[in-house]
């Protein structure tokens, strides 16, 4: 529009004075990397996410050094416990089997319709998480007893809680409970049975169960000295994030799981983006028939239904005994994911090839290495970097998803995905088992997403100037 109003005057064609209007450079020119960094630094959330990622890497790499707990060590006395700083436990004797308690058989009565509840229900001390032993007085006419356990005082006959087991004769009047006991109060109920049906009456006893540990266990774990005796109290190991379904330390498992999850999350995208860049770059650079043939292969691989093939490849590669299954997952991921990067890079290279400055360089006789090094690479690096940052969270998700359907890493190798999946089953009763791994996955995914956003904005000059 302005052109049409422009009416040149003769003075316009005079040469300018050189000195006064020349540019003065007051700061050293910024390299591309420096400029990007400057713009990136202004993006607060991107900076925070960069910090988060560094922290996560530190957690993964230096974690085992700060928290040198064996992630495979099981403590069956502390299964699925919430965070503790070390419980105090009672030392008990190494358990020998208890064959219950047998009374002289009382005379059987013919009337067995309304059998009374047993009397004299008592607990044999000590009641610890190792075992709780019950005994009671025999009931005349009983053919057996059923034992129940509840965490609350039972309200009625239908509310006795867990059916632990039963004894099969009227004079078998003892029962040992070892079924995953926690250090809390329990209400044990005993019901008389006539051999077919259980009677309506029941006897209840409340027991405060103490955390227990056998002397042998305490010794082998180095919790006590040689002079420790039964009945002493010892402090158990701390579990700052609680324990899992086999009593393993969750913090240690998260640290070690991070290695698997981040390894897959970082290595797979790095590999497939690299592969894709080389492939796509070559195709774009060569152009013509070769390009078309190469892109046809990409079309094929992209057409494969991703998840279906991920599963299929993973089992086809097979996981040998003792292997963690990380490698097959990595290979499958790389094999199926590289084409999208290849497409992206090829498109960029094609576009660059037609840019005037590249054409100019070529006309001036620049060779391929120079063109790639000084024109292609710097210009597509940003795109590749952004592609990479967004590929990382999706790789982490895929690992988690495969673990969810039981095709992830093989136990006992922990990964955030598998920990999450295990925690899902227990999310109501032991929420900490889901909360911590889910938090870590979410934080990582989020951090990489925000970092990607920040990078993209910082690399994209147009957008940053616009906002």
């Amino acid at each position: 529009m302005t052109e049409s109003h422009y009416a040149p005057r003769p003075g316009d064609f005079d040469p300018l004075d050189a000195a006064p209007q020349a540019q003065t450079v007051c700061r050293p020119p910024l390299s591309r990397v420096q400029a990007t960094w400057q713009r990136f630094r202004r993006n607060r959330s991107a900076l925070i996410s960069l910090g988060l990622i560094l922290a996560l890497l530190l957690f993964t790499l230096a974690g085992p050094w700060f928290w040198p707990v064996d992630p495979a060590r099981q403590d069956l006395e502390q299964i699925s416990r919430p965070p503790t700083l070390g419980k105090v436990a009672l030392l008990v004797a190494d358990d020998r089997p208890w064959h219950g308690s047998t009374a002289e058989p009382p005379p059987a009565l013919p009337d067995a319709t309304a059998l009374p509840a047993p009397t004299g229900l008592t607990i044999l001390e000590p009641a610890t998480t190792r075992s709780v032993r019950l005994r009671w007085e025999p009931v005349a006419g009983a053919a057996g007893y059923a034992i129940y356990r509840s965490e609350r005082p039972p309200a009625d006959r239908a509310d006795l809680g867990l059916p632990l087991g039963e004894t099969w004769s009227g004079n078998e009047v003892g029962y040992e409970d070892r079924l995953q006991l926690e250090d809390r109060s329990y209400y044990y109920s005993v019901v008389t049975s006539d051999g077919f049906d259980e009677s309506a009456a029941f006897a209840v006893v409340e027991v405060a169960v103490a955390q227990g540990i056998t002397l042998a266990d305490a010794r082998s774990r180095g919790l006590v000295g040689p002079d420790a005796a039964i009945g002493d109290r010892v402090r158990l190991e701390a579990h700052p994030l609680g324990t899992d379904y086999l009593g393993r330390d969750l913090l240690a498992r998260l640290i070690h799981g991070a290695r698997v999850s981040l390894f897959i999350g970082l290595a797979a995208p790095l590999l497939f983006v690299l592969l894709g860049t080389l492939y796509g770059g070559l195709a774009g650079y060569m152009g013509g028939r070769i390009d078309r043939a190469m892109m046809r292969v990409v079309d094929f691989v992209i057409a494969l239904p991703f998840l279906l093939f991920m599963i299929l490849f993973k089992i086809a590669f097979g996981i040998g005994p003792g292997e963690s299954g990380v490698l097959p997952m990595l290979v499958a991921l790389v094999l199926l994911s590289w084409p999208s990067s290849a497409r992206l890079v090829r498109g960029q290279v094609l576009q660059l090839r037609h840019e005037p400055y590249v054409q100019a360089a070529r006309l001036q006789g620049a060779g391929a290495p120079y063109l790639i090094r000084s024109h292609m690479l710097p210009n597509i690096l940003g795109v590749i970097l952004v592609d990479l940052t967004f590929a990382i969270p999706s790789a982490i998700f895929i690992e988690a998803f495969l673990s969810f359907i039981g095709m992830g890493v093989v136990p006992p190798t922990p990964s955030w995905g598998s920990l999450c999946n295990e925690g899902m089953n227990t999310m109501l009763t032991h929420p900490h088992e889901l909360f911590f791994p889910a938090c870590l996955i979410s934080t990582t995914v989020l951090a990489f997403n925000l970092l990607g956003d920040g990078l993209r904005d910082a690399l994209d000059v147009r957008l940053t100037e616009g906002t």
């Binding site: 239904p305 490849f313 089992i315 906002t467």
Partner: protein, 313 residues
């Protein structure tokens, strides 16, 4: 144009053949075979079984036989459900996955466009921050966690209300669709919201908007006629691949909500190494995706001639 369409179709068919061959090879590379079962069978029974399924033939023969049948549109008979044809299984279960997927995409697209636009309009103010917080959750929480939490929420809501507001699981009525579709669409919704927001921001600062504003157009008109219409374009471009991802990605939702979709069948078939079902499902999905891509290409070609030309180079 006709030549372009034909070209795409031929390359699509070659792609389907490639998928079928890749699946066949991958599947037969898996150790074991579908005839093994918990209780071992005597060798004579095993021979009878092998003969029934043609597994006594050498592998190349099996491949040729399979390809021949597939050309006639016959995917064979399932190994685990021995009287059901794989075609019947696909016909019965794919519509379920597709319906779920379409519902999820509708929810995601509508929600994503609306929220994204809203967030952009209220940039850096409360609505924007709230929406972006939800987006952050949607992007960073794994789908299976969402699915489990959503189901739990429903149970508690239903119990609290004393009647069934929405069914907890199962399939059959539109009410059954709501929660699974919502959960399935959530990730995509978050992604689209983000995309829409940044695309909208770009549009807002574009010259033609300034011009429109300067012309004195009403803000509502500007929003609908200029901003939304232009900002929506990148969202539509990513919808194509999203359809593919979501129809195959419904596994988790199908598992948790007891929905008889094809995804759940596939996971089961892999466990059981049900050759014919694995082949049928993969080839079918592959063909479906290829068809979608071709359709999108042709559609683009019609809408925008530039793309058609680029497709040739």
């Amino acid at each position: 144009m006709l030549k372009f369409m034909l070209q795409r179709l031929v390359s699509g068919l070659v792609t389907v053949w490639f998928i079928a061959t890749a699946t066949f090879l991958a599947m037969h590379a898996v150790p074991g075979d579908p005839l093994l079962n918990d209780k071992a069978v005597p060798p004579e029974i095993r021979r009878n079984l092998e003969a029934r399924y043609g597994l006594d033939q050498p592998l190349p023969q099996q491949y040729l036989l399979y390809m021949g049948n597939m050309l006639q549109g016959d995917f064979g008979i399932s190994f685990t459900q021995q009287n059901r044809r794989v075609n019947d299984i696909i016909r019965a279960h794919f519509p379920v996955s597709a319906l779920l997927g379409v519902a999820a995409i509708l929810i995601a697209a509508a929600g994503g466009i609306l929220w994204g636009a809203l967030a952009a309009l209220y940039r850096n103010r409360l609505p924007d921050r709230l929406i972006m917080l939800l987006v952050v959750l949607g992007i960073s929480v794994p789908g299976f966690v969402f699915a489990a939490l959503a189901q739990l929420l429903l149970v508690n809501v239903n119990r609290w209300l004393g009647f069934t507001l929405l069914p907890v699981a199962g399939w059959g009525t539109p009410a059954h669709l709501v929660m699974p579709a919502l959960v399935l669409g959530l990730g995509l919704l978050a992604f689209l919201t983000r995309l829409m927001r940044s695309s909208m921001l770009e549009v807002i600062s574009a010259d033609y908007i300034r011009t429109a504003r300067a012309k004195g157009l009403s803000p509502l008109r500007i929003f609908f006629r200029h901003q939304l219409r232009n900002a929506i374009l990148p969202v539509i471009t990513v919808l194509g691949p999203a359809i593919a991802a979501i129809t195959t990605g419904g596994f988790v939702v199908e598992l948790v909500f007891a929905i008889p979709g094809l995804g759940r069948y596939f996971v089961q078939a892999v466990q059981q190494l049900d050759y014919t079902v694995i082949m049928g499902t993969t080839v079918f999905y592959g063909a479906f995706l290829v068809l979608m891509v071709i359709l999108v290409d042709i559609l683009y070609g019609i809408v925008d001639p530039r793309i058609r030309e680029r497709g040739h180079d």
